[in-house]
């Protein structure tokens, strides 16, 4: 039976949860999530509490107020707590929605922290993300995209070489009649050259994990 919504968006303790996550106070995070879950549906908890917290943390990272280590640890903690408190991975809360198939990878090297942070945030925001792993070649990824019917592909990069390899990837996808696949990029090279994502033929880029949620949400609605 659907739960009765008794809290408005404004009433959910976004700042409290953010502070608890950044101080790695597991008990406080759990307490806040349990209280929210007692009076709201899982989807409301995610949309009105968890996602806004992740957005504020992402904004804090963009503003230089929150470090990458804090973003990573907060993501880990919120993922664990969402699974525990909501009783199932957040993605299942949206199982009825026909979401596009989403995958994420790192091209050619082992710089996987960005992938981990973004995929964690997308997962707790209710998206299922297939992990295509690290050190993948362009041809590997093209094959996986075709075989698994991927519709949104996120590519995380740290080195310029990997960012430029996205250009090869988008060309190969087009050559293989896979140009309907939306390619979303992120990572340092795209922050330091704001035109680079267009140059490599990506459909969008995200500065932070929270921007990735915004981008993927918009693509999923389209």
């Amino acid at each position: 039976m659907p739960q009765v919504e008794s809290q408005t968006v404004e009433e959910l303790p976004v700042e409290e949860l953010k502070a608890s996550l950044l101080s790695l106070d597991r008990l406080a995070v759990r307490r806040t999530m349990l209280a929210a879950a007692a009076s709201s549906t899982p989807v409301t908890v995610i949309d009105s509490l968890v996602v806004p917290v992740l957005e504020r943390i992402g904004q804090g990272w963009q503003a230089g107020e929150i470090s990458l280590a804090e973003v990573y640890m907060a993501g880990r903690l919120v993922e664990e707590t969402v699974d525990e408190v909501l009783g199932a991975p957040a993605a299942s809360a949206r199982a009825s929605a026909a979401h596009p198939k989403i995958a994420m990878c790192v091209l050619e090297d082992s710089h996987g922290l960005g992938k981990r942070i973004v995929s964690t945030c997308l997962r707790v925001a209710g998206f299922e993300v297939l992990d295509l792993g690290l050190r993948r070649t362009v041809e590997d990824i093209v094959e996986e995209v075709r075989a698994k019917g991927i519709e949104i592909l996120l590519v995380s990069t740290l080195m310029l070489r990997a960012a430029l390899a996205v250009g090869t990837l988008t060309r190969r996808l087009a050559e293989e009649d896979l140009d309907h696949v939306k390619v979303v990029v992120g990572g340092a090279p795209f922050r330091y050259d704001p035109n680079l994502w267009r140059e490599v033929g990506a459909h969008a880029w995200g500065y932070s994990a929270s921007e990735a949620i915004e981008v993927v949400s918009a693509m999923a609605r389209a």
Binding site: G64, S67, G112, M159, R161, Y192
Partner: protein
Amino acid sequence: MTPAMTSLQRVASVLSGEVPDRVPMFLSTGLHGPAMLGVSMREYFGSAELMAQSQLLKRETYRDDIVTSFAYAAAEVEAFGQETVFYENGPPNAGRPVLSSPSDIEKLDVPRLEDCEALQRGLEVTRMLAAQAPDAAILGIVIAPNSLPVMQLGFERYLDLIYEQPDLHARLLEVNEEFCAAWANAQLEAGAHAIGFFDPLSSTTIMPRDLLERTGLASARRTFCAIDGTVLALLASGAVIPVIRDFVELGVAGVGVGPDEDIGLAKAAAKESCAVIGNLNGIEMRTWTPEIAEKHVKNAIAAAGGGGGYIVCDGHGEIPHEVPHDVIAAISEAVHRWGHYPLSWTDLPAEL
């Protein structure tokens, strides 16, 4: 006009708080070496002669003040037994982490420099540069003990280790600090005039300040005590302004400033206690024209060059090999055109 100095005098002057004849520059174009010499990346990084030759050619072509024996960051983890992956279109990268689990740290030993070919090549490059470019400033590079584990363990697992296994983290730092100091001192002994302490993790971009004080900065303090020479802190695009006074207190002679920060504010934060080095955007540089390059250099000199204390450089410590020759030449030309002291033109209305 101040009498002309050699590159070494110019850089030494800035690092000791004096005003040189001209703003010095460091063009970190190591990745251009293979193309300059017409060899593959692998051949280039496997030869001390080629690496030294490209540094000398760079100095001749661009009238650069600083040469370096730095090859690629993963050379240091080769000493621990890790593999390096070479690419023809970019910098070599560390292969799979040598520490497959944190428990491997317990049996980790400090590697001997003599047993690592890549590091021995670096020392050979340093000796060649000292012999063949006696007027140039020679910069050696070490990866900080608190940043090396990103390659040794992987970034995620290293952050997990810092937060969850402080004892093993302390043990890893202990090993890395001894290794780092030995590697720095070997480079100084071979002829390097200063050591760039490459420490991306000791930035508030990566670590919260309280954790940084207990980890990266504490480790840097211990390591600097064991290094017998001048040290520059290079945070590889990470925010340095929030920690600049900490590094000054640790005794560094200069700090690298990333493209995200205002080089003038960094200079002000340094309060004339150390030089600032930076902060041209190496990623964006790929798309610059010579005119845009001149504008960026001129703006940087206007913001940070006054009264000395500034070295023109990219903001990361490595100019991508995709950056064209004419842009690098324009950066050099702009430094020579606008960098001579006194910088009286900075008092005039802006021309560009």
